[in-house]
Point group: C2
Chain length 317, copies 2
């Protein structure tokens, strides 16, 4: 087996990449701003300029199994990035092929959430599990589904878009998709901020430290800071969010009956404040055969590490 593999995690803001050894240790990493280079060719050139010295230092191409990439709307079957809403590259980009030609290494690509799930399975808290789901609660809600030890890709490579499942029909309109009441509109940092603004408007007579923040500065982080100090509205926000998230998780369990659901992303920092109502709502909405047997776990990998590790694992399969 080749000594090293490269893992690249392309996000809406940052692209993180690293060299991973056979034990799953990131021996060297770096990053660049995803949307700073003009076009996709410039982006790949930039990536090459930063990675080439790292490759040379590690003994050159002969020591590398290849490059694995996690990217928004990345398609494992085609190697393309297709219509990614958060990237400024438009349309269908044959990204794996372009990177492979530039670097002279085999390249495999998948969607960023699937890469993270892969990282959890090989190096994280889902080690040894064959059936689990990862949910990233960040700016949006991402998901990776593992069944029988394999990432679920679906007939076209796009499976696992659980953030876009409906859980409050007729509810909030999602700005990106135009669909109402989907999980991402509630159980994301963006959703928590919106819930905060709603609850503050609906409860003008309830005192809350959240009113000390300017509307521009009010984030899910502010809600957390107020909630741990006992602020009622801040706590209600996490109750509300956990209720919705828990119902959605119950739906996912009914689908694939996973051994565990692994959560990561910014919102999980709220800990029990969000996890307790989430677990309760999930259990309340599970049929008997599933009750009290699905583990709710936090990822023990750093978020960026999970994606880099998972991406690198694509060329280790």
């Amino acid at each position: 087996m080749a000594k090293y593999a490269i893992g690249i995690d392309i996000g809406g803001t940052n692209t993180k990449f690293g060299i991973v050894d056979q034990q799953g240790i990131i021996i060297k990493q770096n990053r660049l701003l995803t949307n700073e280079p003009e076009g996709v060719e410039d982006f790949i050139d930039e990536l090459y300029i930063k990675l080439k010295p790292m490759i040379d230092e590690a003994g050159g191409l002969k020591n590398f199994a290849g490059i694995g990439i996690g990217a928004p709307n990345g398609n494992y079957y085609t190697g393309n990035i297709e219509y990614a809403a958060n990237l400024k590259w438009r349309g269908i980009i044959p990204f794996a092929k372009m990177v492979s030609e530039k670097f002279g290494l085999q390249v495999k690509l998948t969607n960023d959430a699937n890469a993270a799930a892969m990282g959890e399975m090989m190096y994280g808290c889902a080690r040894g599990m064959k059936h689990f789901i990862t949910i990233t609660l960040g700016t949006g809600v991402g998901s990776g589904i593992v069944i029988d030890g394999k990432i679920v890709l679906g007939h076209d490579g796009f499976a696992g878009e659980l953030g876009h499942t409906i859980i409050r029909p007729g509810g909030r309109m999602h700005k990106g998709t135009g669909i109402r009441g989907t999980l991402e509109s509630y159980a994301s940092a963006t959703g928590v901020r919106e819930t905060a603004l709603e609850l503050l408007a609906e409860n003008p007579d309830v005192e809350s430290q959240l009113r000390d923040y300017s509307i521009n500065d009010l984030t899910s982080q502010s809600v957390y800071e107020c909630a741990i100090k006992g602020d009622k509205i801040a706590n209600d926000i996490f109750e509300f969010t956990g209720q919705i998230l828990g119902e959605a998780l119950a739906n996912f369990v009914m689908f694939s009956s996973p051994e565990a659901i692994v959560l990561f992303g910014g919102l999980t920092k709220a800990g029990d404040l969000i996890m307790n109502p989430t677990r309760k709502a999930m259990e309340d909405n599970l049929i008997q055969i599933f009750k009290n047997k699905i583990k709710l776990l936090y990822s023990d990998l750093k978020e960026a590490d999970a994606a880099i590790l998972g991406a690198s694992a694509l060329v280790r399969e």
Copy 2:
């Protein structure tokens, strides 16, 4: 390969069984009332009395690959039927083992909806597909999920309970599970009857032929008969049901990105009356990458045949 396999489909009312040849033709079949025999031993004795002459006529045990069984809450991993709400056998029944000992043949067992999905994959309209979902719209809502050509069983053998996913949070209480707003409470024959009673009560001034039925006689079949004659409330009932079903199907697509969703069961007899609103609601709630590519199909197998064929296929794998 052995000439024949036996397929058994255990339903809440009827148990149907047949001898299936290598081409997937049911050469002989029969049935018995599931809950008529006193206990599970009596049931198996009854089954043996009816099947033994059929086996002898087909040349005896040496010509048989085994027995495949589809049953409510049937677990492929353990061979048990566990806490099936519609059967009078209580608790955990080691059903596959008991049948195997009685017949002297290998026995494999799975849940009834998974058996039907298997039948569709091997002999029905999902032939050649590796990614699809079957949904049975009968008295309840059953489901079988196929990913990469395999039935999704989950970590414990109970995956694929899509009828129990939440689609109208806080909505109708399901009598069996106590959970509110699940798909089965709306998109089943029972749900359609309930919707009819609700809409009739809410619209006392709207004329409807549905009022000519006694409340006891009002069924999803009555709704169909009135709807094709242009009855407004009857048509509204299918619109309402299709809207909810379509939203749920969109959620399922977002999970596993299937090539097709195969529908069967009594409600599908309403044809376009229910299918048009279902398709529209599904498409309206899919994100761009899934739009206009998921086939909605009707099963072309008779419902009982699908389950018998699918069950028999368990011992052909």
